[in-house]
């Protein structure tokens, strides 16, 4: 197994565990404007991802992305399709995963995810979706890279950006997705998809930093 794959496996597992731990919070957020099952769907995918990575660890980052694309896709729903497409795109880009991770590479990965989500799902910044968290994380990572930050610093900055992006959705009115039927009534709560991205990226940043020091 390559060093890149070991890192990918470690941070993916941490992200999955965090996602499972956030089930109730994510369901509660989803019930404000949706049907309240977002947390269950994410937990189902996270559980399946952890099982597959443990049973049959992929040899490289591309393989990890393929598992993520397949297992998110299998849960169905809009988030399933979106995340499946996003990890497919990430896998295409992760061919050279044995080169050491850099801050600018992190920003580039996040840009790939953002572009895939927007191209496939049509949501832009300000539409009260996961894209708000991803774009904010990407901008923070790019800024960190520009000032010469380490990968760990860039990931921490990206996680903070994701959290800020998720929080910003509370003031927005949903314009795409099922919540958009509610119009003004969707204002006031954080979007569940944006929140789950922030949860995962925070866990990834923490796991990466911890492993980096070890």
């Amino acid at each position: 197994m390559s060093g890149g794959a070991a890192v990918a496996l470690r941070v993916t597992e941490a992200g999955a565990i965090a996602l499972e731990g956030a089930t109730e919070e994510l369901c509660a957020l989803d019930s404000v404007a949706g049907d309240g099952d977002h947390g269950f769907a994410m937990a189902t995918a996270a559980k399946a991802i952890r099982r597959r990575l443990a049973d049959d660890p992929p040899p490289d980052g591309r393989g990890v992305a393929a598992v993520l694309a397949a297992e998110f896709g299998a849960v169905g729903g809009s988030m399933g399709a979106l995340l499946s497409v996003a990890f497919d795109a990430l896998g295409d880009e992760a061919t050279g995963s044995d080169t050491p991770l850099s801050a600018s590479q992190i920003a580039a990965y996040l840009e790939t995810v953002r572009a895939a989500l927007t191209d496939f799902g049509g949501a832009k910044v300000g539409d009260k979706t996961i894209v708000d968290a991803v774009a904010s994380a990407q901008a923070a990572a790019a800024a960190a890279a520009a000032r010469g930050a380490s990968p760990a610093e860039a990931l921490s900055a990206a996680a903070a950006g994701a959290n800020a992006g998720a929080e910003s959705t509370a003031d927005m009115v949903a314009r795409v997705g099922r919540a958009s039927r509610l119009g003004e009534r969707s204002r006031g709560s954080v979007d569940a998809g944006a929140r789950s991205f922030a949860v995962v990226l925070s866990a990834i940043a923490q796991a990466y930093t911890t492993g980096d020091r070890a």
Binding site: D35, D37, F40, A41, T44, V75, G76, G77, G177, R181
Partner: protein, 336 residues
């Protein structure tokens, strides 16, 4: 997960497995009608001729939709997602492959972002395998977006009208173009508006999706337990029927002299008795406007778990649509 939290008593096993169990259980109950070909896919049990395939599907929690419409004159295959969640591209692709008889496949789904995205991924793969698939996303829910943005409107009980009409066109041996045209005409001429009295509650969830005070009703509900677009004072059956009819007529061209099909659809917890009372009030308002009701359907067609409330759907008919609507169908949820 063994214990099921929440305020309602539920008869489930593992809440995470309800959709997969539903598919197996439905096949167990109706072997003369459906056959299970994958964990989440059912197909017609009878032998079909080389017709245009009709595939449908969506989240579970809407029973008898969508698996209840698989049968002669209805859908050839259905893909079943988790509760209120669109099926995966894999399941949709499997349903398409089973429905394909070499004359193309029409996919009839409600217009939800999740369904649209997963269908798009499945259709891409079907096309790569040489199957021609047309996609029709039903958009009858007039409360879900303004009339000038029909592409943003969602599909609710109108799914049944569109599926019935497209299914009949396919069963008549028509081409993919003709079947698609019939389905699109049905969708263009169908509108639905509903009211909810109480919310659905998902198996395994800690609380209902929304709560409505005793003296209020949600108008313009979603069929996934989403709250409505406004809350109003709860009316009598007559008042609600009149309100629903007026909202429908305000949204669709249906002048005096028109003929419609009318579907009053219970959402899961409202008794048939109440559905009939509201139905009569809708008919009164329609006939008062010089509109004749060619056929009525009253009952549970597209539910939302145990949500209380109902919806009214009209399809403005022409001779062709009337013929397709009246054609025979032999499915679990509809037989004539």
């Amino acid at each position: 997960m063994n214990a099921v939290p929440g305020t309602l008593k539920k008869l489930v096993n593992d809440p995470a497995d309800v959709a997969v169990e539903l598919v197996a259980a439905f096949a167990c109950a109706h072997p003369e009608m459906v056959r299970r070909v994958a964990e989440r896919v059912l197909v017609r049990a009878d032998q079909t001729f080389d017709k245009v395939g009709i595939v449908t599907g969506g989240g579970s929690g809407h029973e008898p939709a969508f698996l209840g419409y698989v049968g002669a004159g209805g859908a050839d295959a259905v893909a079943v997602g988790n509760i209120f969640t669109s099926p995966s591209p894999d399941a949709i692709l499997t349903s398409i492959q089973h429905a394909d008889r070499g004359r193309g496949v029409l996919l009839v789904y409600g217009n939800y972002s999740g369904d649209v995205m997963n269908c798009r991924l499945a259709v891409r793969r079907a096309a790569a395998a040489g199957i021609e698939v047309r996609q029709l996303f039903v958009s009858d829910d007039l409360a879900s977006a303004p009339a000038d943005e029909p592409e943003r409107r969602r599909g609710i009980a109108g799914d049944v009208m569109v599926l019935k009409i497209a299914g009949a066109a396919a069963e008549a041996g028509l081409s993919l173009d003709e079947v698609e045209a019939a389905g699109r005409a049905a969708n263009d001429r169908t509108r639905t508006i509903g009211i909810a009295l109480s919310s659905a509650e998902l198996p395994g969830a800690a609380q209902p999706i929304f709560t409505t005070p005793d003296d209020r009703m949600e108008v313009g509900l979603g069929v996934h337990g989403e709250p409505g677009i406004s809350t109003e004072k709860l009316g009598t059956a007559d008042e609600v029927g009149t309100l629903l009819a007026r909202r429908l007529l305000a949204d669709i061209a249906c002048p005096a002299g028109s003929t419609v099909a009318l579907l009053v659809n219970g959402l899961g917890a409202t008794p048939l008795l109440e559905q009939y009372l509201v139905h009569r009030a809708v008919v009164r308002e329609l006939t008062g406007n010089g509109i004749s009701v060619h056929r009525s359907m009253v009952g549970e067609f597209v539910t939302s778990l145990q949500m209380a409330g109902l919806s009214a759907t009209i399809t403005v008919l022409d001779d062709r649509l009337r013929q397709f609507l009246d054609a025979p169908i032999a499915a679990v949820a509809m037989c004539r």
